[in-house]
Structure formats: structure tokens, C-alpha cells
């Protein structure tokens, strides 16, 4: 039995749903296959979206017409802005989600989209047309033919769950794994590797003594992810904070002989970014206490997620150490913590479009590419789908640059450096961080999204108008001057700001730490009435103008190196002057541009020169023909 679609998306997690919506936005028929329709966009780990760097990704996804930000806004039960005492480039949003509601709302959106066809099945094999992938075949016997296929398998490929020395097959606690597909991919020659991640024991909130914990409420005025979510009040639920202690650590140390992690039973590589509590205790013995962030999982459940004590220790040890923690003395564990080992594809085997180099028309996105995090997964889902659809529609690949989007940094890092441990986004990974702020994600990416047809032309026009308004106001402030006359000097003194000596532009005054845009109103007679978000941009861009200019100058250098394209058929191993090691690296990555080649670890300036010589010889030969 065969069904025909344009795009097949295998997996309906955070990567899969974004991918499916991109296909629908571009007018294609999308088949979205999941192991369980009630588990669409499930939060397998903690019930939160965003946070530092991850919040940037959500804002970018939203700026490009994605769904994660909107659903997070609709289902958030607590909203916080992080880094508010710091500069604009390092602020981020985070929300606590009602995780069941998140999944439900996402399912409703999927079901309401006529171009997305939702199917529950387990894809066991790909349909091959030579070396080209032409869809997938389900355990049910159904065959889903498609012109492009995106695999978003998460942790389900040969997923193996560990609790103490017990282990069992599963993609997630309570869910079956996808083992047949994994074997099929290995047969097709994909060099799958093995990674490990873990999660916390979930506690029954009725058994927690909240009075003993420190409460952390949300912000008074919630900051939403989506540029299209209007300000509104939300009834918020607090998080709580508690700490482990020496007794906790003692219990953990005594249980290590039954730890699959320390006994060598787990082979997969874990992440330094999300260590288990037994890892933390062993690696930082001098730290006598670790913070636990108690996150509510929803409005209608008492279950909580004690973030910070992920573990794969035996259940009895889990219960003992949990109960050694203040506030948890009588806590009951609803679901035990566990580690999961799974197959992944080192993303160095992918093009920057996330297409598999060895299998045409097959794209990989999300955790299966060696990343961690819902947001990282969703971002890849978008990138893979845009490029899969563009391939179907015979449009050029869309690769976001490192100075354009955190998503661009994420994908470029993955395909250029590969992932030998789960990759998590950090703002420090972005060398142009000052440009890639979460406040300007719309200015950076919405015009592109409009051009690609991912959002409505109206939304594109709104952002274009916003951009003009910001530029006009910046210009006006630069050209509006005040003079050192009595009225101005008195005013400055009243604000605790140094006197001016010469005539001074408002732009310059606004750069002073102690003055903001609203403050300057008395000195600014002809000020136009502007939206708050335009004022915010004016303040940020004006305050950091010197740094932004320098960073833009660095980015200009990047663009030049990115402009030199490397054809895919360069015979790296035959080029005189390249060592075997470097030729091997270049052949594996197949960099698309000279700039990307330069970012491969170990590549030297001399190696880049060899590539340039080759390019010119080629050009000369082509000219001669």
C-alpha cells in the first residue's frame, strides 16, 4: 500500500513538527509519521523552553515563522527574562511549560494544518531509488513515498534505558525504540555512533515540603518568545530551589558500584553540559552542595522535575539521596531517573543543508545529529525542511551565516566540527554574539523568511517598516544637538550626569550609562512617538554602536572567505601540498566555502592556499576549454 507525498518527516518531536510546518508553509504535501500521536512535541526532559542561547534559537525560529515560540507562549506557566542586569547581547528568555498542554496544543496545530498528514507508524526501512531516498516503509506495511525525507529520530535509534544495572530497550521511558530502522541505516553504510544522556527522577509534589524551599516566581511582566504574541497577563506558577548536601553525596558515592556509568556498562559518550549528579559529585569533590531547580510540570499535575539530579543510579539509591535533600525528606518518586543510550549520526556526514552526503534526498535533524535540547532540535528541523523543500522545488539551498543567526552557528559547528559529545548551544559559540541578539532576531531573519514564503508578506512588511523607523530615529538622534546652556547643564546635574562642554548630539548623551531614551525627552522637542520595541532597538544600537561596528567589520571578513566557493568534487587526496591528515579532514567535511574549510579544526593557512591554487588552476583549465 503506497501513499505519495512531497515531504516525509519521520518523528514528530521538536525537530519533526517544525519541519512539517515549514513544508506546509511552502505549500507541499507533508506526511508526519510518529510512534505515538499523543506524544507529539513531548518534553522528554525538563518542562522548560528557552534559557541562555536556547532562547535566542526560539526567537530566531519564531522570526522565521516557526511554531515553537508561539506554542511556548500559549502554554507557559512561568516566564523569566535572564541576564537583565547585563548587556543586551546576553539577555535571554525562558519559560516553564505545562508540558502536557504543550504537546496537546502542538498536536492541535498539526491537525488543523490541511497540508500535514499525521500518521502513527514505526518506519523500519527507507524506500530507495538507487542511492536516492524516496520515502519510508512502516511496520504497518504502509509505504510513504516522498521526494524528500527528514529523519528526526531523537533518542529512539536503538534506544537503551539504564536504571542501575538493569537496562531495557526504549526510546524514552514508556516508549518503544526504533531498532529496525537503526539496523537498516547501518546496512546502508551510515556510520552511526553512540551517545548517552540522562534525566531526573520525577517527584510527587504532594510529598514535597515547599515551605522549606526557596521560591522563585516569574517576572511581573512576562516576556514572550514570539514577536507576534501581544503582551498579556499570565497566571504564573513559581519554581523552587533547594540544594544537595554532604549526606546526599555520601549516598551517591556509596551507590557507585551499581552505577552503569561508572561501572563501564554505558558505552555512549555523555555531555559535559548536562552531567548526572553522580558525575558532578565525582568530578567536583570540593563542591559540597549542588543547586536543584524544582520545576512544576504543569497546571494540572503535581509531578515536579527536580532539575540538577539527573541519574542512572539504582532506584533505591535514587530514593535515598532524594530524601537526604531539604524539602524532599518525605518525597516519593513517581518516575525514576534513567540514562538513555542511542545511535546518532556524526553531523560531519551532513551537508550544511543537513542532507546526508551519502544518501541523496535524506535529511537528518535534531538529537539524532548529536545535539541536546528541544530548541537545538527545532532549529535543525527548520533548516532541514527549508532545504529539503527547496530541493523539491528546485530552489537554491538556504544556509544561514554565522553572523546572521545562532541557528547558522549551530548548523555550521555541527557539519564542520562534528559532534563527539552531545552539542548544546551557548552564546559563547557565536563569534559575532553582539550582532546575534535575541532582541533583533526579527530584524535579522524575518525579511529572509518573507522572501522564502515562510511568513505572510504583511509580517515581512511590518518588520521592514520597523527597521526603517529604527534607522530614521538613530539618524535623527545623531543630528539633534544640545548646547551647554544653563537649562541643559542644570538638567544634566539633576540627573547626576557630567556637564557637556561643546554642543553634543542626543545620540552621544544616550550612550551615557545613567541616561536612557525616556530620560532625554525634556531635551528632545521634536521627538516622534515610537513603539516601545523601536525605542528598545534605538537604545541598544546606539549604546553599542562602537562595538557593533567593530563586530560588523569582523563579519565582513567572514563574508569574504564565505564568498569563495569550493566545488564538491575537489580531489583533496590528490592535491600536492596537503598532508594526509588534512586531506582526510577536508574530504570528510567537504567544505562548501573557503571560510568553512578554515573552521575545520587543524586546517592551516598553508592548506587553504593549496586549495586556492587548485581553484585557480581549475578556472584556467575551464577557460582554456
Amino acid at each position: 500500500m503506497e501513499e505519495h507525498y512531497d515531504l516525509l518527516v519521520i518523528g514528530a518531536g521538536h525537530a519533526g513538527v517544525e519541519a512539517a510546518f515549514v513544508g506546509a508553509r511552502l505549500g507541499l504535501q507533508v506526511c508526519l509519521v510518529t510512534l505515538a500521536v499523543e506524544a507529539i512535541a513531548r518534553m522528554s526532559c525538563n518542562p522548560a523552553i528557552g534559557g541562555m542561547a536556547k532562547g535566542h534559537l526560539v526567537r530566531e525560529i519564531d522570526a522565521m515563522g516557526g511554531v515553537m515560540g508561539k506554542v511556548a507562549d500559549a502554554t507557559g506557566i512561568q516566564f523569566r527574562r535572564l541576564g537583565t542586569k547585563k548587556g543586551a547581547a546576553v539577555r535571554s528568555r525562558r519559560c516553564q511549560s505545562d508540558m502536557d498542554n504543550y504537546s496537546r496544543v502542538m498536536r492541535a496545530l498539526v491537525e488543523q494544518e490541511p497540508l500535514i498528514h499525521l500518521r502513527q507508524d514505526r518506519i523500519d526501512r527507507l524506500v530507495l531509488d538507487g542511492q536516492r531516498v524516496a520515502g519510508g516503509q512502516g511496520f504497518s506495511g504502509r509505504v510513504y513515498r516522498a521526494r524528500a525525507t527528514i529523519l528526526t529520530a531523537g533518542t529512539f535509534l536503538r534506544g537503551l534505558l539504564h536504571i542501575g544495572m538493569t537496562h531495557f530497550a526504549g526510546g524514552r521511558l514508556g516508549d518503544v525504540p526504533a531498532n529496525t530502522l537503526s539496523e537498516h541505516l547501518l546496512e546502508l553504510g551510515l556510520p552511526l555512533g553512540r551517545l548517552k544522556t540522562g534525566t531526573c527522577p520525577r517527584l510527587d509534589g504532594n510529598t514535597i515540603d515547599y515551605a522549606a524551599l526557596e521560591a522563585q516566581p516569574g517576572d511581573e511582566h512576562p516576556s514572550f518568545f514570539s514577536f507576534e504574541t501581544p503582551p498579556h497577563a499570565v497566571e504564573q506558577v513559581p519554581c523552587h530551589i533547594t540544594y544537595t548536601n554532604e549526606r546526599t553525596h555520601e549516598i551517591i558515592r556509596s551507590g557507585l558500584d551499581e552505577s552503569p556509568l561508572f561501572s563501564g556498562k554505558i558505552q555512549g559518550v555523555g555531555t559535559r553540559y548536562c552531567p548526572s549528579i553522580e558525575d558532578k559529585v565525582m568530578r567536583f569533590p570540593e563542591k559540597l552542595s549542588h543547586q536543584i531547580f524544582v520545576e512544576p510540570e504543569g497546571r494540572h499535575t503535581t509531578e515536579v522535575y527536580p532539575n540538577g539530579i539527573s541519574t542512572s543510579l539504582p532506584f533505591a539509591v535514587q530514593l535515598a539521596y532524594v530524601r537526604s535533600i531539604p524539602g524532599f525528606e518525605r518525597a516519593e518518586i513517581v518516575r525514576p531517573g534513567y540514562a538513555v543510550e542511542y545511535d546518532y549520526l556524526d553531523p560531519v556526514h551532513l551537508y550544511p543543508t543537513l542532507e546526508v552526503k551519502a544518501l541523496e534526498n535524506l535529511f537528518f535533524a535534531g538529537q539524532v545529529n548529536g545535539t541536546s535540547g528541544y530548541e537545538e532540535a527545532a532549529a535543525q528541523g527548520m533548516v532541514a525542511a527549508i532545504n529539503a523543500c527547496h530541493k523539491i522545488l528546485d530552489r537554491p539551498p538556504i544556509i544561514l551565516a554565522r553572523d546572521q543567526a545562532m541557528i547558522g552557528v549551530l548548523v555550521d559547528d555541527l557539519v564542520t566540527k562534528g559532534a563527539d559529545e552531545p552539542y548544546r548551544m551557548f552564546t559563547s559559540r557565536a563569534e559575532y554574539r553582539l550582532l546575534l541578539r535575541e532582541d533583533n532576531a526579527d530584524l535579522r531573519l524575518t525579511p529572509l523568511a518573507a522572501e522564502l514564503g515562510l511568513i505572510s508578506p504583511e509580517r515581512g512588511a511590518t518588520v521592514a517598516a520597523k527597521k526603517v523607523a529604527i534607522e530614521n530615529e538613530l539618524q535623527r538622534l545623531t543630528e539633534t544637538f544640545v548646547r551647554p546652556v544653563a537649562g541643559v547643564l542644570d538638567w544634566l546635574q539633576s540627573r547626576g550626569s557630567a556637564p557637556i562642554v561643546n554642543k553634543t548630539s542626543l545620540a552621544e548623551l544616550l550612550r551615557r550609562h545613567e541616561l536612557d531614551y525616556a530620560d532625554l525627552a525634556p531635551l528632545d522637542e521634536h521627538r516622534p512617538t515610537l513603539d516601545a520595541e523601536i525605542v528598545e532597538q534605538v537604545e541598544i544600537q546606539n549604546t553599542y554602536s562602537g562595538y557593533l561596528d567593530r563586530q560588523a567589520d569582523q563579519a565582513r571578513r567572514l563574508r569574504e572567505a564565505e564568498a569563495v566557493e569550493l566545488p564538491p568534487d575537489i580531489p583533496y587526496r590528490e592535491l600536492p601540498g596537503l598532508s594526509n591528515e588534512l586531506a582526510g579532514k577536508l574530504a570528510a567535511v567537504q567544505p562548501r566555502t573557503l571560510g568553512q574549510a578554515g573552521r575545520i579544526p587543524g586546517i592551516t593557512p598553508a592548506a587553504l592556499q593549496v586549495l586556492m591554487v587548485h581553484l585557480h588552476r581549475r578556472r584556467a583549465e575551464n577557460d582554456a576549454k
Partner: protein, 450 residues
């Protein structure tokens, strides 16, 4: 790895290094003509800077002071080696002049060319044909590269060690900034800005020592120019002969014997020095001698160090005061000669010697070496090239800026930006990137994660 950009204007010495008759310094890039024009004053004010024509004139330093008499040639992009605007200066071949010329070009907005960059630009713009491009490929063939790199490693191992230490300090400072930025919600404890500033200060000390050692490194690598100055018959030629250990200069009782320049290459306490005996400084009506005096003044101004001799038999006179007032005190040693005949008074601050007997000459040598920054006290001699010095100075400037913004405890992202620029400059010396190094530093130091 930072990639050089095409839009920068680059400058470099294109002829062989070391003392030579003529040196060729080349500028290439969009601003080559503008920078070159600012640094050049034609001999005849009426001269137009016609393309492809050698024009005689003076090369000026950044302050507009003449450095050397030179030939200037401008090649428009259509017919230049690189396919960009190119300006060439043909200088006198002293390494000191070459370095001063490069300094002036850097101050004018150029940057030092990466090795092979002129050629790279040439074939990027299609100026080199296939065979020439292959010749470039031969040059960078792995076999010879390995040899070149091995040599480089041997030569710069000590520098690499220093740079590695600096990068560790910067990675540590960055890790503090980045942990504070990327893990705002973790119980890291407040990051103390003083700790970041402390690391920056430690890095700054290393940088300062490297820069201080540059003078010594350069002196050791290229030799320094020391001009002997003074009124006629102060004993300059005798001193040159004494230092050179041979009768090179004509020594005569008649004042004004040395009209041209007499030079001697000598090694003073292990430091190669070019000694220049100049004409005696005095007012004269004699045309040829007057030219000699003018030349002497120019030479003294261009030297790394001037040794000004007081004729002990006459003592320090008003003329000496006048001449000394025109000299840079930081680069001048005032010496009392003929101490065997007439000893200086208690108040004379400088060394006293007798060029004739040799008494006191050793002390002068020690003083010269010290003043050149070439002694042990001058720091470790690690930064030999202008390129390395430029990169280290860039790092030093960024460290200053980082310290200024880190101190307030609020702008760690700006401090990180400056520290990364400093780290990039250092990475350009040893050729590596730093992001992973910083993440490693974060995760080895902090227990973070969600």
C-alpha cells in the same frame, strides 16, 4: 582560524631581510595609493605621481618627518603584480629604516601582509597564470613546509610557550566571563570582576615583557645603529677606532676631518651594532663641510642611539648645550672624552673615558647595550618580526580595553569581546582558534549544566 581579508591594504618588505644596499617595501590594496601618497614628499614639489614612473623624494614617518630619500613608484590595479593598487618604495637597505617605513604604513592604516599574501592576491585577482600558480604551489609543498615549520618551531618554540601561557590566561579570564553569561541561573557564586581583572593584569605583564624584549630581539637579529656625535675634534673617530679595534677612521688633530660618514660593523657585548662616525657639529661657511654637518644631523636623528662626546680638554660648552638640546635625551648618551688629560667635574652625570687609552670604554659599551634595550634587562628576545610585534601590540591594546569594561562587573560580554580580539591576535601568531579552549576551561572549572 582568522582569514586575511582582501579589502585590507597590506604592507611588507619585499626584498631580502638584513642590511642591503636597497630595500623594497610594498603596499598593496585599495588604500595603497592614499597611504603611500601621505608618506611621500617628492623632491620637486611640482612632480606629479605619474603611474609606473620612479619619482625621487623623501619617505615620511607618521609624524611627517623625513625618514629616508627614496624612489616612489605607483602601479594602478590594471598592471600591478597583485591586481590591486600597488605602491613601492625603494629605500636604503638598513633594517631600521625598513622597520620605520613599515611602522609609518601601519600607522597610515595598512596592516602587515601575511606570508605569501601578495602572491595569494595576485592569483585571486587572476594576475598569475597557471605556471606561476604552480610555482606558488611548489613553494608551499608539504615537504618543504614540514621543513619550514620545523625550523619555525625551533626558532619560535620559546615564543610559542609564552603565547600559550598568555592564551591560557585569556581563556581563564574568558571562562569567567562566559560562565557568568551563559549560566546565569546556576549556583556558580557571583563572578568577581577583580578576579578577571587580575588575570588580565597577569597577561598584560607577559605582553609588556614581550614588547620590551622586542628592542633586544631586533637588535640581536638586525643590529642597531649607533651614531657618534659631538663638536669637531671631540674624539669621535678615535672612539670608533677604539670600539672597532682597528684604525678605520682618519684621526687628525685638525678639527673637521670627518666630512662623510664612516661606519664600522662591530659586536658590542654580543650585540651587533653599526657604528657611524659623523662629521663634527659646528657652524661653518665651508659648503662641503656644511653638507657633511647636515648629513651628520640626519644620521644622528635616524640612529637608534647617539653617543655625544664632550671634548674633556675644553669641557662642556654652550655649543654642546645647543647640539644636545636638539637630541632626544632618551636615545642619547653624553660622554666625557679625554679623561686621561682632563677629568670631568663631580657634577658630570655621564660616563668618562679616554678613547686614546681605552680607560672607561668598557663601561660605555655596557651603557650602550643597556640603552639599546639589548641587555638581559631588556626582556626576553622573542619577538623578532614586525608582524609579531604588531599582533602583540594589538593584543595589549585589547587587554587594556578589556580591563576597562570588565572592572564594572556589568559588561562581561564586552570584556569577552575585547578578550577574544586579544586572543585572536595571539592565535594569529601560533595559528589556532580559541572557542573550544574556552569551553574546556569553563567545564573544568565550573560544575554547570541543566
Amino acid at each position: 582560524m582568522p582569514l586575511p581579508t582582501q579589502r585590507d591594504t597590506i604592507a611588507a618588505l619585499s626584498s631580502a631581510r638584513g642590511p642591503a644596499g636597497v630595500a623594497l617595501v610594498r603596499l598593496s590594496g585599495p588604500e595603497a595609493l592614499e597611504i603611500g601618497r601621505r608618506l611621500f614628499r617628492p623632491q620637486k614639489a611640482t612632480d606629479e605621481l605619474a603611474p609606473r614612473t620612479m619619482i625621487l623624494g623623501h619617505l615620511l614617518d607618521a609624524a611627517g618627518e623625513p625618514l629616508d630619500q627614496v624612489l616612489f613608484v605607483y602601479f594602478p590595479p590594471t598592471g600591478s603584480y597583485t591586481g590591486e593598487a600597488v605602491v613601492e618604495f625603494h629605500l636604503h637597505g638598513g633594517p631600521v629604516i625598513v622597520e620605520a617605513a613599515l611602522d609609518a604604513m601601519l600607522a597610515g592604516g595598512a596592516r602587515i601582509a601575511e606570508p605569501g599574501e601578495f602572491t595569494r592576491r595576485a592569483f585571486l585577482s587572476g594576475r598569475l597564470d597557471l605556471s606561476q600558480a604552480e610555482a606558488v604551489a611548489e613553494l608551499i609543498h608539504a615537504k618543504s613546509l614540514v621543513a619550514a615549520r620545523a625550523a619555525h618551531r625551533r626558532l619560535t618554540g620559546a615564543l610559542s610557550d609564552k603565547v600559550d601561557r598568555l592564551r591560557d590566561l585569556l581563556a581563564e579570564a574568558l571562562a569567567l566571563c562566559e560562565a557568568d553569561i551563559d549560566f546565569p541561573d546556576q549556583d556558580l557564586g557571583a563572578i568577581d570582576p577583580a578576579e578577571i581583572v587580575g588575570l588580565i593584569d597577569r597577561a598584560d605583564e607577559v605582553v609588556a615583557a614581550l614588547i620590551a624584549g622586542h628592542a633586544r630581539a631586533r637588535a640581536l637579529a638586525q643590529g642597531a645603529v649607533v651614531a657618534l656625535a659631538g663638536r669637531p675634534n671631540a674624539g669621535k673617530s678615535s672612539l670608533l677606532n677604539r670600539l672597532a679595534g682597528a684604525r678605520r677612521a682618519l684621526v687628525h688633530e685638525t678639527a673637521g676631518t670627518t666630512r662623510d660618514l664612516i661606519e664600522a660593523e662591530v659586536v658590542l657585548a654580543g650585540v651587533p651594532v653599526r657604528l657611524i662616525d659623523t662629521a663634527g657639529l659646528r657652524h661653518t661657511e665651508h659648503e662641503i663641510e656644511r653638507q657633511g654637518v647636515d648629513l651628520a644631523r640626519e644620521t644622528i636623528a635616524g640612529a637608534d642611539l647617539a653617543v655625544y662626546l664632550i671634548d674633556g680638554t675644553n669641557g662642556r660648552c654652550a655649543d654642546d648645550d645647543e647640539h644636545l638640546a636638539a637630541l632626544d635625551p632618551v636615545r642619547t648618551i653624553v660622554v666625557w672624552n679625554k679623561a686621561d688629560v682632563s677629568a670631568p667635574g663631580e657634577d658630570f652625570p655621564g660616563p668618562a673615558l679616554s678613547a686614546k687609552t681605552g680607560a672607561g670604554v668598557e663601561a660605555l659599551v655596557a651603557r650602550i647595550v643597556e640603552m639599546l634595550g639589548a641587555g638581559e634587562a631588556g626582556g626576553e628576545a622573542l619577538l623578532a618580526s614586525v608582524r609579531q610585534r604588531e599582533l602583540i601590540q594589538r593584543a595589549a591594546a585589547r587587554l587594556q580595553a578589556a580591563r576597562a569594561v570588565a572592572g564594572n562587573g556589568r559588561d562581561f560580554e564586552l570584556a569577552a569581546f575585547e578578550l577574544r580580539e586579544a586572543a585572536d591576535a595571539l592565535a594569529a601568531i601560533v595559528g589556532e582558534t580559541t572557542t573550544d579552549q574556552v569551553l574546556d576551561a569553563i567545564f573544568s572549572r565550573f560544575c554547570v549544566g541543566k
